[in-house]
């Protein structure tokens, strides 16, 4: 399958989305990521029973925090697919890439630039 995927994102592999904590997602934004998407197994298919449900809750938590701090809750999203659904992964990554491009760069980047300019 030679699927086309955007080159704008970096994949961080975890054993299960249940391993993804709120702070991991927040740190990505703090370091300047424009968006984060978490891709877990199909709901009900988790090898650890609840990993992907936990991840979904944490994504919701982070989305709320991002909204409150002015970064925007739409910049984070959770997707579910099975390991055999490569084309769907490509589709989701294109969807997320398009959405983030519409939203523009993260305001964190702007804040960092101002901070660096003041320091210089």
């Amino acid at each position: 399958m030679r699927l086309k995927c955007p080159t704008s994102f970096r994949i961080v592999r975890v054993p299960c989305t249940g391993k993804v904590d709120a702070i991991h997602m927040l740190r990505a934004f703090e370091k300047g990521a424009d968006g984060v998407f978490v891709v877990g197994c199909m709901e009900g298919d988790c090898h650890y029973n609840q990993g992907n449900f936990r991840a979904r809750k944490r994504v919701e938590q982070v989305s709320e925090i991002l909204e409150k701090v002015g970064v925007g809750g739409d910049r984070i999203k959770m997707f579910n697919l099975s390991s055999g659904e490569g084309p769907l992964f490509a589709e989701y990554s294109i969807e997320m890439d398009t959405k983030i491009r519409e939203l523009g760069p993260s305001p964190i980047k702007k804040g960092k630039k101002v901070k660096n300019a003041n320091a210089a």
Binding site: D21, A22, I23, L26, R27, F29, E30, I65, L66, K68, V69, G70, V71, P107, I108, K110, G111, K112, V114, K115, N118
Partner: protein, 222 residues
Amino acid sequence: MIIAKKKPMEEIIEEVKDFDKILVFGCNECVTVCEAGGKKEVEVLASALRMYFMTHGGEKEIFEKTVERQCDHEYLEEIRKDIDNYDAIISLACGVGVQFTAEKYLTTHLIPGVNTVCLGANEDRGLWTERCQACGSCVLAKTGGICPVSRCAKRVLNGPCGGSTNGKCEISKDVDCAWQLIVDRLKALDKLDDYEKVAPVKDWSTDRAGGPRTVTREDVNI
């Protein structure tokens, strides 16, 4: 354990916006278990604050530290060497921890990051419920292990009152009638005769009515 609830982010931001160097200070005990003020919550709040001030201007330095207990001199000493680096501390401990830290570091502003709610138990994932009001003279031996002081809205000691319907309290259909629970439990224990005994007037001087309480133990004071 002591149950606390995170304060809304907006409230915390409003309180700290005038300070430049802020320590988010967690506690590894009760507030960690009720997921309101442990190491993870410290990291999340510190990260959120950093992002807020990055997007809204204002150059702030946000530090993170979590100690074993904030209600103990020994552990609070851990931040003494760095205390001058902070303009303000957001304490994610219960009210006890916040006050103890404030007493210890007189010239540093202390801001509570959680609302302390009650003494309760972890009934289910994400559900904490009140079980004790620390009244200072426990009656559980006589009430089948169910507390009428904390679980009855009226703190009735010879219940139930007329508001008990189908095992629920009149204040809400979701609240169990403590006295129904007591009767059920006494029945299960085959001790319903105890229910017939009228409880005497309770000495409330051991409760908050007697002012702030102190426990002194000469035998452990070495």
